[in-house]
Symmetry: C2
Subunit: 509 residues, 2 copies
């Protein structure tokens, strides 16, 4: 490959190296720039002489100030940048530059499972919700037996999922933060891919009683609540408990097995976007391609969620003008402020992000990471904002507040989504049992190395082999195919399914 | 059964009903007391007329004040008691009444696995530690293959354990609270039952890098660190990653398979005590029996830990005089204060405990629960106090600070213990993969109903069929047998093993 760098914006005074092995000192680019020292792939090179104190600009935005003079052609390392202040939350322009709707897309469909509440599932799963971690091993024992003994007789059912977690007791369940995990687990338990009706296994003495988990309306199976309570007097011994779960499972499997996929418009997709193990390419390749797919989804009438407060915080000034209304803008600011305060209470701040891997992948600080992260949001107006634990019901582009950690963010997005897109630069084997997770790599070298874990390679954008639009359209089609069960993601192929990790900002007792 | 109640202390003005079906109005006890209304099992009856504002006394301690007049023979319900203030932390007597050592017990032994660091294992397990939740499904996939393909060839190895958790990234890893989960996971990863040497699976980009998890000294297998890093350049594809784990596992299994149990003194036991799903019997039957076993263990030179700050807080005035030194007393007070402040930051307090099940089981409030809980600590001097995440190294009776939630407490105790005792009134199927968990019931009715989940029935103490000492000795012998692999706990029989839940008082990002 010829020496190649990517400069995102004409105003940028740094660019990132494309060549997989990095480039050596002395190498000259077609632009005339020559490297004065070796620079690894994805890391930044100075495009011109930078003075100490000068702003370092990428994505057309200030990502830091040079804390020393950096002549042209040098490797701009993270320790050469001072972190700028985050955008002040009181001075943001709200709904001042709302993008006009792009032309609607018609005729795109997928084959999903239509539910009574109007939602559409992308899988047909038996779900077993739990109220407390105490019962998790019992439910997992039952799941193994259901898989071995019952599922083979119900070929139209895609699988059985234990909705286990480390919440439910030993928590301050009336404290302000408790509503977040309770609501998250409620929405996951009533998920579209379970036809909105799980079996429920409760211990009996736990703080998160079934009536609290479901806000009083318990799921009903046959003549009564679909709840097995282990401490019930009539359940004598473990064998009896497992027998009760198996009988309820069989009854529910009979119902689920009668379901068939139906063709529905693409507007029934609720797609959660997330990045994990990001690198300096993420904001140039996979995230913009996902952003283009997000625009296509919005044009088709679907819901697209992006999240991760700490990876949006430093780019929030780019989003508040795009909010559909001032009210949406204020909601976005509210979520940023909540998280600033939450981190402050724990004696942390936004500089706790990025990770060692992000830095190895060329990301100098959280500002550079955030500017790349929000590229996932495409170019549509921001239609709505949801708080932690709230179920997203709006159509269009939605910011759903979550922490940025992959499994915590994924758990919260799962409460609303029926498809998941996950972009990665360093590589992550992350997956979820309840929805297909489509993996998009930022670099071709990762897609080649993890050929049986990465679904879509956006690295071709950096090498010039494909455009952002090409990869965006490919991803859009992949989503329709995977949502229809026609195409399997790699994590579903291997059965790599991460445990749920509900966000609990409240204390444990 | 004749009408029967248990009055713990001569000063008590309430007692709890023993009869499994409860007792009806009009029933008279041998003492002459007659019930004025029906009272369920485990719930409190007033032994004499109580005036409004009068102290209600159980265990010889004030558990609340009557907020109305309660004549003799009435059911004393939780809503009739006002919660008293917690013991003020600045005025506690420290080391003022240190119990003299009881006679040493000699000649008690068990058959364990002797480790290089001097610790003794009670199981011989292959452990696979993880640095971040992203890799958990990959490790679980490998574990299934190891179980199916490798373990049958290594009959002296008891099993393979994936040390998975929801920590490792998306956390403020430099915040003050982060040391707790990192240290907890370090000690669990280096556990005596893994011969102190796990394999380690790391993603590569995570915040909790292997060097941070292990505080620099990585476990060594053969010629190099026992670390498989999924993002390493030489690992091409998922099959390759699994292959690398399988090869390392085989190498480690060869070593583990050569180990044999050796007879060691009972002083090598490190026993964690915990209660979960407690009821009003817990403080009368199972917890005192466990306390007697704790005394035997201390006399035999072993380590016994009790924990659960919020269930000790209201009885701390009974413990500070028993501290071996004033320094130990100050450490105990320090842990109580830390938790008071932690709860306060989350806008909660000690009244977040007890649970709905505790209340159904007759516990009116956290004071009554705590007074019953600390009975587990027996009557020895308190030799040492350990903070959250700290490994317990002292011999004798130790308070190891943990939250009270079962799986969180169990995870923190696991960092130090090689045997676990779990008392329960309402019933819990809780278990751990890495150490045997001996279940002790507070009532015979639970032991009968859950005949294949409860190991030891302490309910016989309430009915008069056994003494506290009888059950304590039975438990002591059970511990020696289970630690030797001669006797299997019910949770190990069924394979009921709860996921780890490290306590993370720091924020997630």
């Amino acid at each position: 490959m010829e020496p190649r760098y990517v400069q995102v914006n004409a105003r940028d005074n740094v660019a990132i190296i494309v060549n997989p092995e990095g480039l050596a000192a002395g190498v000259a680019f077609p632009s005339g720039l020559a490297l004065r020292e070796a620079v690894p792939q994805a890391h930044k090179v100075s495009l011109r002489d930078l003075e100490a104190g000068e702003c370092i600009v990428r994505y057309g935005e200030v990502i830091g100030r040079a804390n020393r003079a950096i002549p042209a052609g040098f490797w701009v390392r993270e320790d050469m940048l001072d972190l700028p202040a985050a955008p002040p939350l009181d001075e943001l322009p709200l709904a001042t530059n709302v993008p006009a709707p792009q032309p609607a897309l018609h005729g795109y469909t997928f084959d999903g499972y239509c539910n009574d509440d109007g939602s559409v599932g992308t899988k047909n799963l038996l779900g077993i919700a739990t109220t407390v971690q105490c019962v998790a091993p019992t439910v997992e024992y039952a799941v193994r037996r259901i898989q071995a003994e019952l599922l083979p007789r119900y070929p139209n059912v895609d699988g059985v999922v234990a909705i286990t977690h480390t919440y439910g007791c030993g928590v301050a369940i009336d404290a302000p933060g408790a509503a977040v995990p309770v609501q998250t687990l409620r929405h996951i338990s009533l998920h579209a891919n379970l036809a909105g009706l799980p079996l429920v296994v409760s211990l009996g003495c736990e703080k998160m009683q079934p009536a609290r988990l479901f806000s009083s309306d318990l799921p009903v199976l046959g003549d009564g609540p679909a709840v097995i309570r282990m401490q019930d007097e009539e359940l004598r011994g473990f064998g009896n408990i497992i027998g009760a779960i198996m009988r309820a499972a069989e009854q529910r499997l009979e119902e689920l097995n009668r379901r068939r996929r139906q063709t529905v418009p693409a507007s029934e997709l609720v797609v959660g976007l997330q990045c994990g193990g990001s690198d300096a390419f993420s904001g140039v390749t996979c995230n913009p391609a996902v952003g283009y797919a997000a625009d296509l989804l919005v044009r088709a009438g679907a819901t697209v969620m992006f999240s991760e407060v700490t990876e949006v915080r430093d780019a929030v000034h780019l989003l508040t003008p795009r909010c559909a209304t001032e009210e949406v803008g204020r909601a976005l600011v509210r979520e940023m402020r909540w998280y600033d305060e939450y981190l402050g209470r724990g004696h942390a701040d936004r500089s706790a992000n990025p990770t060692p891997g992000n830095k190895r992948g060329g990301l100098a600080n959280v500002v550079e990471k955030a500017l790349g992260s929000v590229a996932k949001a495409g170019s549509s107006a921001l239609a709505a904002v949801a708080s932690h634990g709230e179920k997203v019901m709006a159509k269009g582009l939605v910011f759903a507040a979550t922490p940025a950690g992959d499994f915590v963010c994924g758990t919260q997005q799962l409460a609303s989504m029926n498809m998941h897109v996950f972009t990665t630069g360093e590589g992550s084997p992350y997956g979820l049992a309840m929805v297909p997770v489509v993996k998009v790599s930022s670099r071709t070298s990762l897609a080649e190395r993890w050929y049986d874990l990465i679904d879509v390679d956006a690295g071709r954008i950096a090498t010039g082999e494909a455009t952002i639009q090409d990869v965006g359209r490919e991803l859009f089609q992949f989503l329709l195919d995977a949502a229809s069960g026609r195409r399997k993601t790699w994590t579903d192929h291997w059965g790599l399914h991460n445990a749920l990790a509900p966000f609990n900002p409240g204390p444990v007792t």
